[in-house]
Amino acid sequence: MAEQKEKPRKVASMGMVPYEMALGPTWTRFFEGFKEKRILGTKCNKCGRVLVPARPFCPRCFEPMEEWVEVAQEGTIVTWSYVNYTYFGVTPDMIPVIGATIKLDGVDCGTGMWTQIGGFDIKDFELVTKKVKVGARVKAVWRRKRQGNFRDIDYWKIIE
């Protein structure tokens, strides 16, 4: 019997898998709105709620949501978080960011997208805690060139 000389080892392993995921008609239309600087939601004819992002059906009433409505581009911060750490896929140049849930005026849910607050030096944490508050008002700032995806909203600007 050979004796074990090394302490238990590890081996490096890495996998890459490609995907092509269907956006579907509902979200394709939602992002078409982004190209035109419009935020679209869908309205449930049963419970009357307007949801953003648009949904094919109401998760609660389970009826199709076929009525489209354009919603306001201003809203209120429900909650936010200051992200300042890295992990695989996130490099130091990508942080910090401020993630937030924003309730747009006239919409019955948070945006449901983890939107980002910006437009000032967010590396200055003192300044961040002064400006960014639950309940603060924000406004969407669009990119000049829009491609019909979530990046079309460059950031959400605090309305002083």
């Binding site: 081996v11 898998v17 995907y19 269907a22 579907g24 059906f57 998760p59 609660r60």
Partner: protein, 379 residues
């Protein structure tokens, strides 16, 4: 123990859909609810079956799958792996008398993810099997080689499974692959992993299957023809291929438990139709042996005899089986759904031309059938 009745099923077709997974999942779930006239929140419990990042591109798939499955704020859970387990799980709360109705849904969009072989290579352990290229197809090819050699099964006999199943699929509106092929077409198709030919391997399909289960009393109220859950069995094999006899799988154990629970002593005589999971053509023959439809090593003769044809005494895969429609993960629930439709007499153009009292649904996944499950349904 309460009886469990299957009230209604709905399935989606296997061809690539432009719908998002959320939209795609919603349709069959809504269809089942509408058919029985129930509201989403009137169902007592929901059991989902889907799969995580490798086959779906999303981790914790239940997070995304939740809304379209109808599970918002209802008692619920999710099975991972094969959807036939979600069916069996769905029966449990009814049997214990806790729930009157359970909605089961299995879902996947095969068109959105990479080739099955890329994905199943991640099933292999990272030290021994993965580096040498073991995945479901290479493993199956080794199993087929052994099958041909040990029992003298011919490649023609294996090809006949493809011819039969794809011909059945022509009459199934939900099947993915619709083409008539001959034994020669199969034998002349590309030898992708000898002895496996391209036409002997299942495609990758879309598939959402939804099913409403109910207690005896409730089932009789909701439908004139409930189908009853009679038995199930399942068994797992050891991991390393070298540790197993690849022609002696755990299907025998799984089938024995299912037959015992359902009170079946002669499966060949008592079962009217079987839906098996045969991602590789030869496996249908092997599974038929292990299910007790013929003696060991006689799978080739069984297909030659015509018994398993749609017009035969014991039709196997009248829907076209997995060779015609392979929504990995959901496919186990499709087998159950097809068995239900045959008993209900609602299979449409591929309905058997005889009375169907007892049906068997089988599913398997893992290398060379590492996990096996069998469900028995009755009228």
């Amino acid at each position: 123990m309460q009886k469990v009745g299957i009230v209604e099923v709905a399935q989606s077709a296997g061809t690539e859909s432009p719908l998002s997974l959320m939209e795609f999942t919603y349709k069959p779930v809504k269809e089942v609810l509408d058919k029985v006239g129930m509201k989403r929140d009137e169902v007592d419990m929901y059991i989902l079956a889907s799969t995580d990042v490798f086959h779906s591109g999303m981790s914790c798939a239940n997070a995304f799958d939740w809304d379209a499955s109808g599970a918002f704020m209802k008692p619920a859970s999710r099975e991972e792996g094969d959807a036939i387990t979600s069916f069996v799980y769905g029966c449990m709360p009814i049997m214990e008398g806790k729930c009157d109705t359970v909605l089961v849904v299995g879902l996947i969009k095969g068109s959105e993810n990479a080739e099955n072989d890329t994905l199943t290579s991640f099933v292999a352990d990272p030290f021994y099997s993965r580096p040498v290229g073991i995945q479901e197809t290479t493993a199956a090819a080794m199993q087929m080689r052994l099958y041909l050699q040990r029992y003298g099964i011919t490649e023609e006999q294996c090809a006949k499974v493809v011819v039969k199943n794809l011909s059945n699929a022509l009459f199934n509106p939900y099947a993915h692959i619709k083409k008539r092929v001959s034994v020669d077409d199969v034998l002349n198709s590309e030898r992708i992993c000898d002895p496996l030919k391209a036409l002997e391997c299942a495609p990758k399909s879309e598939g959402v299957c939804a099913m409403l289960l109910a207690s005896e009393e409730k089932a009789k109220k909701l439908t004139d023809k409930p189908v009853w859950f009679k038995g199930w069995g399942s068994s797992m094999d050891t991991f390393y291929l070298g540790d197993r006899d690849l022609l002696d799988t755990q299907l025998k154990t799984a089938a024995a438990s299912a037959y015992k629970m359902a009170g079946i002593s002669n499966p060949r005589k008592e079962i009217d139709i079987a839906e098996t999971c045969e991602p590789y053509a030869f496996q249908e023959l092997l599974w038929c042996e292990e299910l007790g439809f013929c003696a060991q090593g006689q799978g080739g003769k069984l297909i030659d005899s015509g018994v398993t044809q749609i017009t035969g005494e014991l039709p196997v895969n009248p829907s076209g089986g997995v060779l015609a429609m392979n929504p990995y993960v959901a496919r186990g629930l499709y087998r159950v759904a097809e068995a239900v439709l045959q008993i209900k007499g609602k299979a449409g153009e591929h309905q058997l031309d005889k009375k169907v009292n007892t049906a068997l649904a089988h599913s398997t996944y893992g290398f060379c059938g590492q996990w096996q499950g069998v469900v028995i349904l009755g009228s």
